[in-house]
């Protein structure tokens, strides 16, 4: 009970601490993986190829932004429904615009509303009905998958408007397509929101100690619901972009983004328990995963093999962070 009155010095070695930062680790790995890819298959790290990787990373990164927020909010926050939202959004967008630029804006509005609504349901289920997020969003994913089957039988898959395709694939500024800039903008916005707004501080507060946040007047439920809504909206935006990337929507395009979106977040330094971390790391995590995926494709590992590698990566990460926590604690 004799509490020392001095603040303990933070970390012993700043260099070591810097090198151990998840962000630094991720960036080093990105370079290493690019070099490995180039070694395995010359041309892997060509400008063309890197641009393609960046576009896919942006798609994943946008989904992961929402995933990141939900996870930051704690209480086992996770959004497994993002895959379903992406697919649904791609279909809605494809049908609303149906190849015409004039349809882009209405499509965006429709998709964002749909994504937001799905997120709202997730949030309500988690907060008011106290369903664990894993169960709630998995259930929602099931519902969306069923819905997609029904919808697909009734209406065509739809076509991307040329403007949208250009936005995703054609260079727009400094040789980079619009979607990269959108991702950068989202990155800046997220960083600002998380560090410089009251809302951002509240997200960390409920993620770190929900009871204390509640006692300090944070509207815990409203914040948590809003996080799921944002996740739905981000997934919807990713769905639209994905449509632009592939030209037309096809079955369950979104599914393959679910697991990577979680891995990107965890790899970026946001623990699944929430309350700490941020989006910058997640962006690096998304890049890394996409490169890894590229390498796996280069060495002819198919989709199921890739999923296995991703699952194993997630487990490894959990082990890594888990041990780190035990050593610090």
């Amino acid at each position: 009970m004799t509490a020392t009155t001095q603040a303990r010095p933070p970390a012993p070695s700043p260099v070591l601490a810097f090198l151990k930062q998840p962000l630094v680790v991720a960036l080093a790995l990105i370079v290493a993986l690019l070099l490995l890819g180039e070694a395995l298959s010359p041309g892997f790290a060509s400008a063309q190829q890197i641009l393609r990787l960046l576009i896919v990373a942006a798609l994943l990164g946008i989904v992961a932004a929402g995933q990141n927020l939900v996870i930051l909010g704690g209480r086992e926050g996770i959004d497994l429904s993002v895959g379903g939202v992406i697919s649904l959004s791609a279909i809605i967008a494809g049908n609303v615009m149906n190849g015409a630029d004039s349809g882009i804006l209405p499509a965006i509005v429709a998709c964002i509303i749909a994504g937001g609504l799905i997120g709202l349901f997730n949030g309500l289920g988690v907060t008011l009905l106290r369903i664990p997020p894993l169960v709630m969003t998995l259930g929602m994913l099931g519902v969306l998958q069923g819905l997609l089957v029904v919808v697909r039988n009734g209406i065509p898959s739809g076509l991307a408007a040329p403007g949208l395709s250009q936005f995703v694939t054609r260079p727009f500024l400094l040789g980079l397509p619009g979607i990269i800039w959108l991702w950068v903008a989202i990155g800046l916005l997220m960083a600002f929101m998380l560090t410089r707004t009251v809302y951002g501080h509240r997200i960390y507060a409920i993620g770190s100690n929900e009871q204390a946040a509640y006692m300090a007047g944070v509207p815990v439920k409203a914040v948590r619901i809003s996080l799921f809504m944002l996740s739905g909206v981000f997934a919807a935006i990713a769905g639209i972009c994905l449509l632009g990337y592939s030209g037309s929507s096809f079955a369950n395009v979104g599914e393959q983004y679910m697991l990577p979106s979680i891995i990107a977040v965890v790899f970026g330094g946001t623990p699944l328990a929430g309350g700490k971390g941020g989006y910058t790391g997640t962006m690096a995590g998304a890049l890394l995963l996409v490169i890894l995926q590229g390498i796996l494709t280069t060495v002819h590992i198919d989709e199921s093999g890739r999923q296995m590698v991703f699952g194993a990566t997630l487990l490894l990460l959990m082990l890594f962070y888990g041990r780190g926590r035990a050593m610090r604690g």
């Binding site: 009970m1 410089r196 009251v198 501080h201 509240r202 960390y204 507060a205 006692m215 944070v218």
Partner: protein, 500 residues
């Protein structure tokens, strides 16, 4: 010769001297009562005897022979059984299994002998059959039982040891009248068999109903043993108080007459879970103290006012307007602040910077959307300095600070936008002396500036030294109000230990 004797037994937890000097002798066939205020070391003494805590020094003699109790098993071998205050039940197991937990009957093959187990447990369950209440049977899972029923199971478990010495550390705190009566009948039977009982309770009537002798323990020291027949509650309380009463009260500042006072908070017959019919008013500039033993409703009342716990009936008037507490957010907007003593649970936003730990109330009350670090730092620094908080930088995580400084951060959170009424729920739990001194200096300053303050403290000295008036809680309601020269430790204890 005594059945059991303790000589100068001591135990420290880190820097806390839980037991300084425990001297105790228990005869065969007696119920020996231990009494002392919260934290005086009763449980520590019991745990030493039961082998779950190793003493730092002293001697234990059983039947006149010195023994070393190395663990729970060894305590059993020496003939000591115990009822643990915090219970020692396995929630997922049945009542029967729990009763036999410490000594499972096994078949020759080494499996649990279910039949023998059921038969043995049934004997103890039968003892309380008439008073155990609904939903209680030998095969109920313990986690489905009420608090009183769990306590009965722990009693049965202690009885099932059939030990010559059985320790009961607050076995009656959740029991009703009939259950206590039945328990006492059983204790008398044990006594008649020549067994020794150590019995702890904070209820004076129980102590005088069942005890043969009473030993008073104060600040970790056994200060006297009396025959129950030769003493009375007042004398016991005087022993508990010791000479410390002359030190208090020190805060004799007489407050203005009722006419001149403006009330910032009034409660009328407020009832809810854990408290009933609580009425009081707090004037501007007044420090109203809540006293009494732990868990007599003090925290529950404060949490109800703050909107955390529901209110069943009664009225709260805040700043002249009736107020229905629905959640902390609403309470904060209405000018209330609540500092919890459980900072880990209710206060510290761990892993986050100090700045973010101070600002939540400020955001809410100022309806802020943006968090500008520079502007916030200008508000936060003076608040932390007023409490003499030691910290490296506002960006450092709160976990990098010592417990006392963490609590100061949490307190600063509530004071940065000045509330009208400050509710303090045992705010100094586990913080060091200098932090306490700083805190109370600030509290008095705030009161002098017109804030209304309600202070619940589990440390009697804090209450006696700082509160203008003290409401003594006992069994969920206000038993007595102590004002002026009545604010003595003796009066505090008397009201706290009085039978409900």
């Amino acid at each position: 010769m005594s059945k059991i004797e303790l000589r100068g037994v001591s135990k420290a937890y880190g820097a806390t001297l839980a037991l300084r000097r425990g001297d105790l002798s228990i005869d065969a066939g007696e119920v020996h009562v231990l009494i002392g205020s919260n934290g005086s070391g009763k449980s520590t003494l019991c745990k030493i005897l039961a082998g779950s805590v190793r003493p730092d020094g002293g001697e234990i003699l059983i039947d006149g022979k010195p023994v070393t109790i190395t663990g729970p098993r060894s305590a059993r071998d020496h003939g000591i059984g115990i009822f643990y205050q915090e219970l020692s039940l396995a929630g997922h197991r049945t009542v029967s299994e729990n009763i036999c937990l410490s000594d499972m009957p096994v078949t020759r093959a080494g499996f649990v002998d279910r039949d023998a187990l059921e038969a043995r447990a049934a004997r103890y369950v039968a003892l309380f059959a008439s008073v155990a209440g609904d939903g209680f049977s030998a095969d109920t899972t313990v986690e489905n039982l009420r608090a009183d029923q769990r306590q009965l199971v722990e009693i049965m478990k202690a009885l099932a040891t059939e030990a010559p010495v059985i320790i009961f550390d607050e076995p009656t705190s959740a029991l009703d009248r009939a259950q206590v009566d039945r328990f006492f009948e059983i204790l008398r039977d044990l006594k008649a068999e020549g067994r020794s009982i150590i019995f702890i309770s904070h209820r004076m009537d129980e102590i005088f109903a069942i005890g043969d002798r009473v030993t008073v323990i104060r600040d970790g020291e056994t200060v006297g043993t009396e025959r129950i027949a030769d003493t009375n509650p007042a004398a016991v309380i005087r022993l508990m108080v010791g000479t410390q009463d002359e030190l208090a009260p020190t805060n004799g500042a007489p407050h203005a007459t009722a006419v001149a006072r403006t009330f910032v908070l009034t409660l009328q017959n407020l009832s809810g879970k854990g408290f009933a019919n609580v009425s009081f008013e707090v004037a501007k500039g007044e420090i109203l103290g809540f006293g009494g033993l732990h868990g007599q409703g003090q925290s529950s009342v404060l949490r109800a006012i703050f909107g955390v716990n529901p209110v069943a009936s009664g009225e709260i008037v805040l700043g002249g307007k009736t107020y229905a507490a629905s959640n902390p957010r609403e309470a904060i907007r209405r000018g209330l602040a609540y500092v919890s003593g459980d900072r880990g649970r209710d206060g510290v936003i761990s892993g986050r910077p100090i700045l973010e730990n101070v600002t939540p109330i400020h955001y809410l009350r100022q309806k802020l959307r943006l968090a500008r670090p520079a502007a916030l730092a200008d508000r936060v620094r003076p608040a932390l300095e007023a409490l003499h908080t030691k910290f490296g930088g506002l960006g450092h995580p709160i976990n990098s600070l010592s417990g006392g400084n963490q609590q100061k951060i949490v307190i600063a959170r509530w004071l940065i936008d000045r509330p009208d009424v400050l509710l303090l729920d045992d705010p100094t739990k586990g913080i060091d002396l200098s932090a306490k001194t700083d805190l109370f200096a600030l509290i008095r300053k705030l009161a002098a500036e017109g804030m209304g303050i309600v202070l619940y403290s589990s440390e009697d000295a804090e209450l006696l030294n700082n509160a203008d008036r003290i409401l003594v809680f006992n069994g969920g309601s206000v038993r007595r109000e102590l004002t002026g020269a009545d604010r003595t430790r003796y009066n505090l204890y008397q009201a706290a230990y009085e039978a409900a």
